[in-house]
Symmetry: C3
Subunit: 395 residues, 3 copies
């Protein structure tokens, strides 16, 4: 082999079989692969793009609206966002109070445990082991079994915040007006692979638009202000129903960005989903509630508290999405492997040609040129050229 | 076909065209593909690695520092982290108060709504529908229109927390000293695909280093303690400016881990970004504020509250990154598809050779060996070998 | 070239070398590639699936249990979830108090700074620059150096919340009973690529199961209620030890879903990890604590507060996982690139055959059919066919 021969072009030798059956089969296969590659992989699935699947997101929320409640215990009370939104600082997970049970003026004292707790039912003092906590209860047993009559079943006395909370389930949402609260969502996203960042807040010169708009799937799809009732409804709930015991709702923000098309074509898509399991609501998993307390001191310096069990809408803003941009590596991988797959087609067509056609024996003979023992023996420069030519096609 | 023939080696027959133009073309193509494969795919892009794109991260923060404010209303007040950091428990999203408006001693009562709200402007009592909430206002209309003079425009009376908050925008940051607060960030990350976990806190024997160091891009790039003023400055803001109305800042922690290089080579990279949109600040989107209230009871047991509207720096710590480790599958995919792409080069060079060269007709004749009808007819062991040899190259 | 010739099937011409060494070598290579492709890529690694690596997750938590503390300062105190869980609303990051230092009745006043702070040690008034904050301290220096005796070293006087907190480290966990608290985790996940969502809460008709079950690796692997002591133990800590100064624990929920197998086969896997660095605990990084305050007003309307420094278990629920579903593109990429790799095997076997075998010269001659200058000159339809046939195998 000389240096010169490095620049000789070697091209594969083909045997042309004038067999239209296999020929058409092969062409069909070729067209399928090319069609799949261009149509599906490149046009539909954008296989020429590198994808950033991990979105970095920062969400800020702000709820507006007021509601008046009027309970027999505490009278008229005005609820502003500083009260009904928890936490108040505007995170991507927020809770909006729609109902509550207030237990005012609790003091650390001894009192009777809730009669609904099986663990607190007793018949004698020995049933209330001193110092033991009541299972999922409100306090520590003092060792005394409180009875109304001598032989009736009683309830253990506990040490805890007394009086204990009324354990009746509410029937009506006290803050039913929460349906009209508005939720403003500011979402900043970033695709670090492409160093691309954007916000969901429209870059408009029209300042007042952002003050007055309200999200609507058709007319205002990019307005970042949502009506709470709307969100809950779109997630598949009836607001006044869910407001009684609370529930979980997800606001999904999808960013599907084709960065080859430019900055302005990358928009968020909002959708809404219930985060509760879709099956029949069981008493354990249904609703959303928790408790918090406000502590006070009286003139004597003694601490008491107001306990609030609050029910409400738990809103979780979930941001997801991908960005794609042209990149040579996935392009090569998709083209290359598509082409390689054609090799599989060649293999199948060859099998058909060489074993299933009438003239298969001839094709095999033509395709496979044997190097025989006789060739090897005649491997001698003195052997005549004409002899070799004849032997070439010998069996 | 015998069993033995399974172990015969079949090698493709080539036609060598001593055409240096196409030969050089093909060699250039080959070198390009190999160069791309080795240089770009493997050396630069580490195409031999499987990538874990999803990082699991847990962040804990702690802010230190105190600031003294002196307002005409409440006098000197010392702010510690328990007051100015919200929430106090040290999450990955935190808010550091830099300014506030205090409205002390609010009671549930009736008073005049803010004159800045268009919805509260009235000329007669009928304009203030009883029981209706003022849009983005502070309470519920009582149905009375409060006027200074008989014919002037008035303001609706509301029921709510009175007196209402002073709606003037602040001009100076009351906690301007927040610039010197320090922020300690503990970040634990995990790449589940490779079961790899690490913390951003330096594993040092020098305990005092972590007590005294301060992050610096050049001298202390791995110190996890940041000066708040520094963070804001690096995000592109002037601290004293942003401190007035607040703003959002992102601390990005990037983990770019090459696990083939070992545990100790995987370090976090910190960068800082503004999370506000870059365009002209509109009154709606600018700033960061929210309200919270502290509730008190007086000696008579009546509730009143101090309302705080706080402005400040919203810090969002965003962790992202990828880990890569050698894996056979992406290696095979990249090599395989690169090799397959060479097939495309062969196709192009063949086209040039067979249709654009002077001797194309000859090359075509050599490359494509036809199997003719005559062959098929002569498919007869008695036909002479010499005849077949001649027919081989027949048209 | 006629239209008809488009449907002729061209098949590569092979030279069959009856060389078993290379033949066997090639077959071994082929089997390796096929074995790798079927066994490793498809069966083990499910290379026929598209993978969604980004999971969208929403977590809700609820802690239950009560604990009684009895400190000399404040007497018996009952802690419910509304007190010891921070934040109370049930997020995916939560803190459960296990120990605390209470500093009751702090007032804004002047007092002596903590003697442990180097920055507060002074020998004369000039050492306490007025208006300067003590480094990591509790207040602002007033400019006075408080001394017990004339020549002893003193401590700067500060303005702040006085008396200052007792800086002694606690020795015993006051809420050691927290070991028996239960943690209920509700996790809703979604794979947006496949529009698949599921919850970790068992869809059971048995309502009471979810009320009474307790997670256990073997017997109740899908019960979403965890014993706090259990979680801490499985993360590698001793509960009573970690409860003193607090610590970070991660509950990892892994979703590894094969969507080709159907909805019901996709289950969460729980595991537990410590989120503290594994090295020797340094005083800076060990533990988990923060402060919060409760504000009160006395009868005269003066504000005072109770400061709590709380230590506890910081639980971070980290959800991760992937979903896979059959997709044509990765299937083609894997098959295609595997097949292409076989080309590399052909190349190696060819090299062996053409340069390392005894009869290499013959094989080279057979494999590479040259097109010579003489051919080109004789490129003339009048040249006799037989001559061409002879020249074919010439040099």
């Amino acid at each position: 082999m000389t240096l010169q021969s490095l620049f000789y072009y070697k091209t594969v030798k083909y045997v042309v079989a004038q067999n239209k059956k296999v020929g058409v089969l092969y062409r069909i296969f070729q067209l399928t692969v090319i069609g799949y590659l261009i149509g599906w992989v490149f046009v539909v699935k954008k296989g020429y793009q590198a994808i950033d699947e991990t979105i970095e997101s920062s969400v800020v929320t702000k709820v507006k609206g007021v509601a008046l409640t009027n309970t027999t215990g505490t009278g008229a009370h005005l609820w502003g966002p500083e009260d009904y939104v928890i936490p108040q600082q505007g995170e991507h997970v927020l809770f909006i109070t729609t109902n509550f049970i207030e237990t005012p003026n609790q003091k650390l004292d001894t009192c009777s445990e809730s009669p609904n707790l099986l663990d607190a039912v007793c018949s004698k003092n020995e049933d209330c082991t001193q110092g033991e906590a009541v299972l999922t209860g409100n306090g520590i047993k003092t060792g005394i079994c409180l009875k109304k009559e001598r032989n009736s079943t009683g309830i253990c006395e506990i040490y805890g915040w007394c009086p204990i909370e009324n354990s009746q389930r509410p029937k009506v949402p006290l803050l039913g007006k929460a349906e009209n609260f508005t939720l403003y969502i500011k979402n900043f996203i970033r695709f670090s692979k492409f160093n691309f960042s954007k916000s969901n807040v429209l870059e408009t010169n029209n300042e007042t638009y952002l003050k007055s708009c309200l999200y609507d799937t058709i007319h205002h799809p990019y307005c970042p202000i949502f009506l709470l009732g709307d969100v809950v409804r779109k997630a598949g709930h009836n607001f006044q129903d869910i407001a009684v015991l609370g529930g979980s709702v997800g606001i999904l923000i999808e960013w599907r960005c084709d960065l080859d098309k430019g900055y302005s074509k990358c928009h968020p898509q909002y959708s809404f989903t219930s985060l509760d399991t879709s099956t029949t609501p069981s008493s354990v998993t249904a609703g959303y509630n928790f408790r918090y307390a406000r502590y006070f001191k009286n003139a004597a310096g003694e601490v008491h508290r107001n306990l609030y069990k609050v029910f409400g809408i738990h809103v979780d803003i979930i941001v997801y999405g991908t960005a794609g941009k042209f990149n040579i590596i996935p392009t090569v991988v998709n083209i290359g492997s598509g082409l390689a797959l054609m090799g599989a087609g060649v293999f199948i067509c060859d099998m058909v040609l060489l074993y299933l056609m009438k003239q298969s024996t001839l094709y095999r003979k033509k395709k496979f040129e044997k190097v025989n023992r006789t060739d090897i023996k005649s491997e001698d420069p003195k052997v005549k050229l004409s002899q070799q030519a004849v032997l070439l096609s010998d069996r």
